[in-house]
Symmetry: C2
């Protein structure tokens, strides 16, 4: 199943048959939500959704009505477009702080054998109508996927892909600055960064572009995978920007890049710094992580009382030279199907359905940021967290002679 989608999955009619299960095959279903919706009686689907999407009290997420121009772009450029509204209580002393937030997932546009500049510019042009649809829909804050300007080439361990790195104020940033100004929209742009002021080193970085087209700041990925084909430590090192929160015109946001989603402490630190929305721009394939995809972000949203926007790229990227992955698989030229499935999670344990597993897409959600504090007051996680215990324990754990707190059963005879 992971290997079915090749280039052009976003526009090939031949692929259309695989996207539902109308053809009798289950392999290519668009999303879990649509699969269940098509397969279950309405009353069963409703109850299953209550559990799976965390829709308590029988409250379904309301779809948002978008302008016709957004649907026209979605139809013309064949990308999935979904929009939902999270619930929050009305407060007596604060006005609602409703923000419209967008996530974009996409495949690459040209084969990885095309000239580098053509590859990059084709992606920029592909993204433009999707970003315009977000703008037409009134999106306030938009986040793109990890390393969105390039194929996810780190699996190859070929250093030539480093050429695709850009400085913070490079071509892709300028491209997005223009769109940010035009649509009065904050845009988070995760790229491979070339740090020209520090010896031309590389980082996996998110650039935060304000709604006036200015650069508010950047964040560099904190945790680097060394898993199968994802040996990204060949290319860049652990980030040195801490856990910054960016106070944009529309809300306080942070970015937990890709593999950082496996680290609860990383999510925690963005929360302690005050984030209300944390984006998780990712690139991950089905065989490795799909069953975790619906768990980690939702857990982070619950535990830290903030919204999470999860983004994963689309399609299977085939590279010119086969590579081995160090785990005994024969050499191969792709590392599986990026399954998309971008979605939002809320602090009350609810979440939206996911975008397609096969198509480019734009997911939009209205979220009242007041919900974050409402959940803090309801559950009290921050106040009951006993951070002193953990500050002390982590400090002890860091010492090479750390001794775990273990009680042996003295009645058991232990082998030496």
């Amino acid at each position: 199943m992971e290997k079915e989608e090749k280039f052009g999955n976003d526009n090939g009619e031949a692929q259309e048959e695989k996207k539902g299960f109308k053809d009798g095959s289950i392999c290519g279903f668009e999303s879990l939500d649509r699969l269940l919706n098509a397969s279950l009686k309405p009353e069963v689907f409703q109850e299953v959704s209550r559990l799976l999407l965390g829709l308590n009290c029988g409250r379904a997420l309301e779809p948002i009505s978008l302008p016709e121009s957004a649907f026209a772009l979605s139809s013309k450029h064949d990308f999935d477009l979904q929009a939902f509204c999270f619930h929050a209580d009305k407060e007596l002393l604060r006005e609602p702080r409703i923000v419209r937030v967008g996530l974009i997932q996409n495949s690459i546009s040209l084969p990885t054998t095309a000239p580098f500049l053509d590859q990059k510019r084709a992606i920029l042009q592909k993204l433009k109508p999707i970003i315009d649809a977000a703008g037409a829909s009134g999106v306030n804050i938009l986040c793109l996927q990890e390393a969105w300007t390039m194929p996810f080439a780190f699996c190859t361990r070929e250093k030539r892909w480093c050429e695709l790195a850009e400085p913070i104020d490079g071509e892709s940033t300028r491209f997005l600055q223009d769109l940010a100004r035009r649509h009065n929209m904050v845009i988070v742009s995760p790229i491979l960064e070339r740090d020209v002021n520090h010896g031309e080193t590389l980082w996996n970085t998110a650039v935060i572009i304000g709604n006036h087209g200015n650069i508010i700041g950047k964040h560099r990925k904190n945790h680097i995978p060394r898993v199968g084909d994802f040996n990204e430590s060949t290319y860049y090192m652990e980030g040195n920007t801490g856990h910054p929160v960016f106070q944009t015109a529309y809300g306080k946001i942070a970015i937990n890049i890709c593999y950082g989603r496996h680290h609860p402490l990383n999510w925690l630190a963005f929360g302690l710094n005050g984030a209300e929305i944390v984006f998780n721009p990712s690139a991950t394939v089905g065989e490795l992580s799909e069953p975790m995809w619906s768990i980690e972000a939702r857990n982070a949203a619950i535990a830290n009382s903030y919204y999470v926007g999860s983004i994963n790229r689309i399609g299977t990227e085939i590279f010119p030279n086969p590579f081995t992955s160090g785990d005994g698989k024969p050499q191969h030229a792709d590392f599986g199907h990026f399954y998309g499935s971008s979605y939002f999670s809320a602090p009350d344990a609810s979440c939206t359905p996911s975008l397609s597993r096969y198509k480019d897409g734009l997911m939009i959600s209205d979220m009242d940021l007041n919900l974050c504090r409402q959940l803090k007051d309801k559950w009290g996680f921050r106040m009951t967290a006993r951070y002193d215990l953990y500050a002390e324990m982590l400090a002890r754990y860091l010492k090479p002679d750390f001794e775990p707190q273990v009680y042996m059963d003295v009645k058991t005879v232990w082998k030496a």
Copy 2:
């Protein structure tokens, strides 16, 4: 839906109709897994299970065949009995370390108006055949639910329920010590503890009984809820036993009691101390937490590379005197339906289906503890965790004058 089950839900025939959705009503379905299994075509169910139960590579969890005597007990005493086997790779230098682990969920037995001693002893007698079924099935380590000797009376805020607290070596412990010896089984017994050596104070405690009937140690609940009817801070305080791991004859276990499951740092600390199985004995109701139930424990298992056993009690407990919950609900005599749904999670993101939402039950799983280190080696979460960042940040956060790392958009005009 939360209010349908009253006393005797575990044996009343009148309740039977509600347990499936055969009657056309969806409210009383037994478990998500059974609901989907009954509603979906086999090939769709398989794909849905792959995602929902984390069964990658097409590997379904194999059921375990249990002795006839276990099924006879399950049938005679009307409790749900399920058993599955998790997968792990064979290793070249270590033998498999397969442990059979059990979880018991149950409703109380007598009305809360019955004499206290009768209530307690009726629960003990109710548990005996379920524990015997675990023994007959060769279970090595068994965990009971939170405060299993009593109704979950903390909602009432009546101090008379304190009488049901017991010292670590009290009647319920002696009852289980005998069964532990008889079945050569480690038993984790979560009770309301009376600490006679420290001014007769109360704790929410798990007693760890070794397979020789000895008491290996105890752990006291670290994080106390102050949520709705769960204002348990009226009765006992935050635990003072740290994050102990108990090296039993069958493996290294720890206990994260109930509300502690909402705290990723609590899960983390048990992992840093070396736990291979962490139990989460709980008492929680549908309206409050059901959509979180399948997320938090699985996330903990993934993030910390250990197994988790999640247990929740069963039924709706009605108290003699109505109480208010401080959140504006009218006074009421119960706080909703405890939805059971006990299940196991593994470090590879897989999990078992859940036990019934309505019936007492025994969930059994075979788990090769070698899987924990296999996942550590595969994903490298411990090595990529950068604990130094977080020790430092938590130490800073604890200070009253902590300043979050926030970058303001200087192009935005901020209101004072």
